[in-house]
C-alpha cells in the first residue's frame, strides 16, 4: 500500500511555513552572531577571562564551547591557503558495515574498511585496498555474543575503531616517501560513542581511538578529521559566553538542552558567510568534557578545529579537526590546510581521497546478497539448513517488486 499523501498535505504546508519563519529568525540571529564575532575579534584578555570564568562555573557535562588557540590573528579573519608541498603522502580510510539481523538465516556482521594512499605530486597511481572482516558468534575475535543481539550502534563503533586503527597502521607502514604524511578521516577526531554505549565497550573504543591518534603522532604523521557541513555550535557558544553580561542570559542557557538561543544557527552559518572560498578560520580548541578526557590521556591529543570554506556555494563549508600536535606546528597546520584545499579542487568541494576511500569501503546490496549466498553454500555443504524468520519472509512478500502493465 502506498503512502496516503492526502493525509500529509496539511503537515507538508505547515512544514514549509515553519521553515520560512525559522529562516527569518535565523537571519536575525546570524546578523547578531557576526556582530559579536567582529566586536570580540581581538579582545584577548576579555576572551580569556570570561571563558575561564565559564569553564569554572559551568557544569562540565553540559557546557561546550571554543577557545582560540593563539592570540595572533583576529577571530573574524579568513586565512588563505599556502601552496601545497611538491610531494606528500595522503592516506584516508573509511568504513561500512552490514549489521547483524536476527531475522536473517545466519547471524553475522561485517565491517569493511576502504583505504587509499595518495602520492601527491608523484604522478603515480595511488595504492588502494579493502580490509573486510566477517564476525560471527563463536569466532576467534568475538569476545561475547551480545553484539549480535544488541544494536547496530556497537557495530558502528567497532567500524569507527577499525577506521582509525587501520589509518594508524598505514601511516606506520609508510617508509621513505618524500614529503609529509597526512592521515585523513571523514569524521570528528573528538570521538565519543554514539547512543548509550558508554559502558565497557564504549570506553575501550575511546581508549583505542586515543591510542591510534598517538600512534600516528609517534610515526611522524599529521592527522585531520574532515566533517562536511557540520552542526557544531562551539564558536557560537563562545560568543554568547563573551556576551552574557550584555545579553542578560545565564550560563545554563547555553547548555544543549536549554531553550534554543541559537535560533537554528550553527557555526557553519557564521563562517560560511565570513570566509572566502579556500580560506580557513583561525584555530579553536574545543571546550568540552570529552576533550578534557582526551587531553588527560595525552596532551598532544587535545582536539582543535578550524572551519574551511571548500567552495563558493552556500553551505560549502567543512570543519577540520586537528590534534594539538598539528595545531601548534605552523608548518603542519599550513600544509594540512593547503593539501585539503588541493584535494577539494580535484572534484570540487570535497577531498578526493575521502571520496575514494568511501567508494572502496561501501558494501552494496548486491555484495551483501553475494556474501550471504556464499555463506549459505558453505553451510549447506555441512548439512546446515536455516531460513529467514516468518516475519522477514512476510515482509519480503509484501515489499517484493511489483509488476506493472506497460502495454504491448
Amino acid at each position: 500500500m502506498s503512502l496516503e499523501f492526502e493525509q500529509l498535505t496539511p503537515s507538508i504546508a505547515e512544514m514549509a511555513r515553519e521553515a520560512g519563519r525559522r529562516r527569518e529568525k535565523r537571519d536575525d540571529e546570524l546578523e547578531k552572531a557576526a556582530a559579536l564575532l567582529h566586536e570580540y575579534a581581538d579582545s584577548w584578555d576579555l576572551i580569556d577571562e570570561r571563558l575561564s570564568w565559564a569553564v569554572a562555573n559551568a557544569d562540565e557535562k553540559f557546557y561546550r564551547s571554543a577557545r582560540p588557540l593563539h592570540h595572533e590573528l583576529p577571530l573574524d579573519q579568513g586565512i588563505k591557503p599556502q601552496a601545497p608541498p611538491a610531494q606528500a603522502t595522503i592516506i584516508a580510510t573509511d568504513g561500512s558495515q552490514i549489521v547483524p539481523d536476527r531475522h536473517a538465516p545466519f547471524l553475522y556482521y561485517l565491517i569493511n574498511i576502504g583505504a587509499i594512499i595518495y602520492y601527491h605530486g608523484s604522478g603515480r597511481p595511488p595504492d588502494v585496498a579493502a580490509f573486510p572482516k566477517l564476525s560471527f558468534p563463536g569466532d576467534a575475535d568475538s569476545e561475547e555474543d551480545d553484539v549480535f543481539n544488541v544494536s547496530s550502534n556497537l557495530v558502528s563503533m567497532r567500524r569507527d575503531e577499525r577506521e582509525i586503527s587501520m589509518l594508524a597502521n598505514l601511516v606506520k607502514s609508510i617508509k621513505g616517501q618524500p614529503g609529509p604524511t597526512l592521515a585523513i578521516l571523514d569524521q570528528r577526531l573528538l570521538y565519543w560513542p554514539i547512543g548509550n554505549n558508554t559502558g565497557i565497550d564504549g570506553q575501550r573504543i575511546v581508549y583505542e581511538w586515543q591510542k591510534s591518534m598517538a600512534d600516528i603522532n609517534s610515526a611522524g604523521g599529521w592527522l585531520a578529521g574532515f566533517i562536511d557541513r557540520p552542526g557544531k555550535r562551539s564558536v557560537l557558544a563562545m560568543l554568547h559566553t563573551l556576551d552574557l553580561q550584555n545579553s542578560g542570559r545565564k550560563l545554563q542557557d547555553l547548555y544543549p538542552f536549554a531553550s534554543d538561543i541559537y535560533g537554528g544557527l550553527s557555526d557553519t552559518d557564521l563562517f560560511d558567510q565570513l570566509l572566502q572560498p579556500e580560506e580557513r578560520s583561525v584555530i579553536f580548541i574545543d571546550i568540552s568534557q570529552h576533550n578534557k578526557n582526551f587531553t588527560n590521556s595525552d596532551p598532544d591529543n587535545e582536539v582543535c578545529f578550524f572551519y574551511l570554506k571548500t567552495g563558493p556555494g552556500e553551505g560549502q563549508l567543512a570543519r577540520v579537526d586537528i590534534p594539538m600536535w598539528v595545531a601548534r606546528n605552523k608548518t603542519a597546520l599550513n600544509t594540512v590546510h593547503a593539501l585539503l584545499v588541493d584535494q577539494c579542487r580535484i572534484i570540487g568541494h570535497y577531498p578526493y581521497v575521502i571520496t575514494r576511500a568511501d567508494e572502496i569501503a561501501v558494501v552494496g546490496r548486491r555484495d551483501q546478497e553475494e556474501l550471504e549466498n556464499r555463506i549459505q553454500l558453505q553451510m549447506n555443504e555441512l548439512g546446515i539448513y536455516t531460513s529467514i524468520t516468518s516475519k522477514q519472509q512476510s515482509k519480503e512478500y509484501a515489499r517484493g517488486q511489483k509488476t506493472r502493465l506497460e502495454g504491448y
Binding site: 595518495y118 597511481p125 595511488p126 579542487r345 570540487g348
Partner: protein, 210 residues
C-alpha cells in the same frame, strides 16, 4: 602459443552471433578495432573466434566530475585507469570456431559463457592458420545492416592481419579478390572498402591488377 600474455578480458554476455567482453584499462593496450580474438573456456574443446567491432568506454558520476576539472592530476588519472573498476566493453562478431582442433568458418554451436577468458590472437602461426582461408569474410558481410560497421571492420581487420602476417602481399591480394567476388553485387560496400584498403596499404591496387 603464448596465451597467458594476451588475455584482454572476460565474456560479459554472449549469443551465437557474438559476445561482449569486459576489460580493464590496462588490458586495452594491445587489442583494437578489427583485432582477431578468441574466447577460450578453460579445459574445453571449443574455441570461438571473433573480431572486435566496437569498444565502449563507460563513465560514472565521478568521471563526469573529473572531466569538468581543468587539467586533472596525473595521480587521479592513473587512479581512475588502474584502480577503479569501470569495465571497458568490447563487442565481438563471431567469425568461426575450433572444435577438437579443427577450424570451422561458421557460427559456433554454443556461445561462450559469462566470465570465459578472452585472448588476443597474436601468435603468427595461429593467425596464419585462421586467416589462410578467407571463408570467414562471409560472416562479416552477413552482419551488414546490423550495428556492425562492415566496411570499416573489413579494412581494419585486413590491414591488421596483413601487418601481423609480415606484410604478406600474397595473402592480402587473395583476400581482396575474394572480397570482390563476394561483393560484386554490392558496390556500396565494396568501393569504399577497396579505397580505404588502398589508402592503408599503398600499392595494393597495382598488385591486384597484376
Amino acid at each position: 602459443m603464448n596465451d597467458t600474455q594476451s588475455e584482454i578480458g572476460r565474456v560479459l554476455r554472449a549469443n551465437t552471433t557474438g559476445f561482449a567482453v569486459g576489460s580493464r584499462v590496462n588490458q586495452l593496450s594491445t587489442p583494437g578495432f578489427g583485432s582477431l580474438i578468441k574466447a577460450q573456456p578453460v579445459g574445453e574443446h571449443e574455441i570461438i573466434y571473433g573480431l572486435i567491432y566496437n569498444i565502449n568506454i563507460d563513465d560514472d558520476q565521478l568521471i563526469r566530475r573529473l572531466v569538468m576539472v581543468e587539467s586533472p592530476r596525473t595521480e587521479v588519472i592513473e587512479d581512475q585507469r588502474n584502480n577503479r573498476i569501470l569495465p571497458i566493453e568490447m563487442s565481438v562478431l563471431a567469425v568461426g570456431y575450433r572444435i577438437n582442433g579443427n577450424l570451422r568458418y561458421s557460427l559456433p554451436p554454443r556461445p561462450p559463457l559469462n566470465l570465459d577468458p578472452v585472448i588476443l590472437v597474436d601468435d603468427p602461426a595461429e593467425i596464419k592458420q585462421f586467416t589462410d582461408n578467407p571463408s570467414y569474410l562471409r560472416l562479416i558481410l552477413r552482419a551488414e545492416g546490423s550495428r556492425v560497421p562492415v566496411d570499416q571492420l573489413l579494412v581494419a581487420h585486413m590491414h591488421d592481419v596483413y601487418r601481423r602476417r609480415g606484410e604478406d602481399v600474397t595473402w592480402i591480394v587473395s583476400v581482396v579478390r575474394e572480397l570482390i567476388e563476394l561483393l560484386r553485387s554490392n558496390y556500396e560496400v565494396l568501393i569504399p572498402t577497396l579505397e580505404a584498403l588502398n589508402s592503408a596499404i599503398p600499392g595494393l591496387n597495382e598488385e591486384i591488377i597484376e
